[in-house]
């Protein structure tokens, strides 16, 4: 839904009570997003051709997708189901009756010469996306974090989400002066998600996009594969001096990676400010971000692009969604990431930040719950998942869902750490062994590699006496107050026990003996 320049009053009313963001060169940054998410249906929204990615050109297109004379659209229930699921996930209103409209314009990847979309009455209305953003520090001295950065809760309101069909693709390489049109993608169902202009910084915008990405992949309506074009963001960006009239916005199209998203918005903001400072007015425009140059540039304007001549599609009666369908969907739906994160905080005692990480996707959450329930040690589980396991998974380019280290492995591992059977160092060895599929169970590996910490005090006592006897010089130094010497003794003791002693215990015993 396009937003015209609105008088300061109505925008101010709309935004009343919303905190402003960090000013850039004294300017307030105002951002709204439109995100096109490809839905995970098997067939297209209006035709029964496949939506699978990567097929030979034009081999996944039916008469409807080729827009042959006489072809007509027939609606895919799966697309509607996913729209309902999204609406519930963001607490939006699901319209009982919504209308499909034709958006008319000419483009070679738009075979009918119009896109079937929704205009005046979309299927999902309202809604909100909430997430956490590190608070902007009042000073920017590089204070080493002593724990967690303070988090600010943000909520971005949605205007609507509507169903529509995707266009085909134009390919330009290999053709001199020509483009090749592939209609495999034409007709893939899209849910277009539109926000109010609630975001106040590029960081917030990226955080919103990441949270939205998490939601749609979590509930399974979109595969989130940005390289394949499953999740495409357009950012509407404007700037203004606080209190002044709303600035003219420019739209940055097709932001397909989080990495470039922030860069693109930051550039655009600086560019707009530069223009204003130089006395130039901002013209409404559509721009593209060039990752090679790091700049946004205006697209060639399509004449009359704005006059889409929307009218209700006479080939499609209104979409009716009964309340029982909505309620059944609600009861069948998996718990949402934000809800689950709250539960992790309350039931497992995780910090908000850690809970957020444990709910970054469904597979992670499932893993965490399984390991925590089995071990009763959620914080340790969390540390191992965020630490060693994540490192290994990232290096191997795989995920929790496919990890050979299973939740029960982690559960047992942390139990053995907590009950003192092994030290942290030993635990790393056990972990590596499981990762490399060199053993079946934690206890078996501990046994086989002889990693049990020495628990027998009498044996340790004996060894410490031997160490003290063999290192008389160090003993004197320790008594003289030299801590380094103490460390050396601990080191000797550890060596003598082949690392199996509990260092804390060694320390304690040495101290006792030395007085």
């Amino acid at each position: 839904m396009s937003q015209q320049l609105s008088p300061v009053n109505s925008f101010a009313q709309m935004q009343a009570g919303r905190p402003t963001g960090p000013l850039v060169q004294g300017y307030e940054v105002i951002i709204g997003f439109e995100t096109h998410t490809q839905l995970t249906t098997q067939s297209k929204i209006f035709s029964r051709a496949s939506t699978a990615f990567g097929a030979e050109p034009n081999t996944q297109a039916s008469a409807v997708d080729f827009a042959l004379p006489g072809a007509l659209p027939v609606m895919n229930k799966g697309a509607v189901q996913r729209a309902i699921e999204f609406g519930l996930a963001v607490n939006a209103h699901i319209a009982e009756s919504s209308v499909f409209a034709r958006k008319n314009y000419f483009y070679p990847d738009l075979p009918k010469g119009y896109q079937i979309s929704q205009f005046e009455i979309p299927v999902v209305q309202g809604g909100v996306v909430e997430f956490f953003l590190p608070s902007t520090p009042s000073t920017s001295s590089g204070q080493a974090g002593s724990g967690q950065a303070a988090l600010e809760k943000k909520s971005v309101r949605l205007v609507r989400a509507h169903l529509e069909e995707d266009a085909g693709k134009s390919l330009h390489e290999d053709f001199i002066g020509q483009s090749g049109i592939d209609l495999n993608r034409a007709g893939t169902p899209l849910l277009e998600i539109v926000t109010e202009p609630d975001m106040r910084s590029s960081a917030e915008a990226v955080a919103y996009a990441k949270e939205l990405h998490k939601i749609v992949t979590w509930i399974g309506i979109c595969d989130g594969n940005m390289q394949e074009g499953s999740f495409r963001c357009d950012a509407n960006v404007s700037v203004r001096k606080p209190g002044e009239a709303l600035g003219t916005r420019r739209e940055i199209k097709n932001l397909n990676s989080f990495k470039f998203m922030q860069q693109a918005i930051d550039y655009e903001v600086r560019w707009q400010i530069g223009q204003i400072e130089d006395g130039h007015a901002i013209q409404q425009a559509t721009v593209l971000f060039d990752p090679d140059t790091g700049e946004t540039r205006s697209m060639r304007t399509k004449e009359d692009a704005a006059d889409y001549r929307y009218f209700p599609d006479p080939d499609l009666p209104p979409l009716m969604i009964g309340r029982d369908w909505v309620e059944k969907t609600r009861s069948d739906m998996t718990k949402l990431p934000r809800e689950m994160a709250n539960e992790f905080v309350e039931q497992y005692g995780l910090s908000e930040s850690d809970a957020s990480t444990m709910t970054q996707n469904h597979a992670t959450a499932v893993y965490f719950i399984a390991a925590s329930n089995e071990s009763g040690l959620p914080k340790l589980v969390c540390n191992w998942m965020m630490g060693e396991l994540s490192r290994k998974l990232n290096a191997a380019d795989t995920t929790f869902a496919y990890s050979q280290v299973r939740p029960s492995h982690i559960a047992n591992l942390v139990k053995r750490i907590a009950d003192g059977t092994i030290s942290n160092n030993a635990a790393k060895q056990v972990f590596d062994a499981i990762w490399n599929v060199e053993g079946h169970s934690v206890d078996e590996i501990i046994e086989r590699l002889g990693l049990k910490q020495m628990s027998d005090s009498s044996e340790l006592d004996k060894i410490i006496d031997e160490v003290l006897a063999a290192n008389a010089k160090n003993v004197e130094e320790v008594r003289a107050g030299n801590t380094k010497a103490m460390n050396a003794l601990v080191g000797q003791a550890m060596k003598a026990t082949k690392g199996k002693a509990n260092p804390a215990q060694v320390n304690e015993m040495l101290k006792k003996k030395l007085g």
Binding site: A49, S50, M75, Y107, S179, G180, I181, M299, L316, P318
Partner: protein, 99 residues
């Protein structure tokens, strides 16, 4: 409200049609005659009336039929491209699309 030749130009462009200069005048005259007829609609009071987008809606609510999410259309590229003006390696060729 009478149309002007700018209207004709704008509309022709929107519809991707090309009118010769002599045609433009003729079409302008014909359309103006037509819209004089259309002005009769103003005489009807339609306050509070819902538009009738689907004729069957007069009888009661028409609802969009939903089909199951099943793939049943096979590859039909060859047959569908039989009447294509320009095809190469399965792609429809058009003059280069500049963004």
């Amino acid at each position: 409200m009478a149309l002007t030749s700018q209207d004709i130009e704008r509309v022709a462009n929107l519809a991707r049609l090309e009118l010769r200069p002599d045609e433009t005048d003729r079409v302008l005259g014909q359309l103006n005659g037509f819209f004089a007829l259309v002005a009769q609609m103003d005489a009807v009071n339609t306050e509070g009336i819902e538009p009738l987008a689907h004729p069957a809606a007069v009888l009661g609510q028409v609802a969009l039929r939903l089909r199951d999410d099943i793939v049943s259309e096979p590859n039909q590229r060859e047959e569908s491209q039989k009447s294509a003006p320009a095809v190469e390696r399965g792609l429809f060729l058009v003059p280069k699309v500049i963004e």
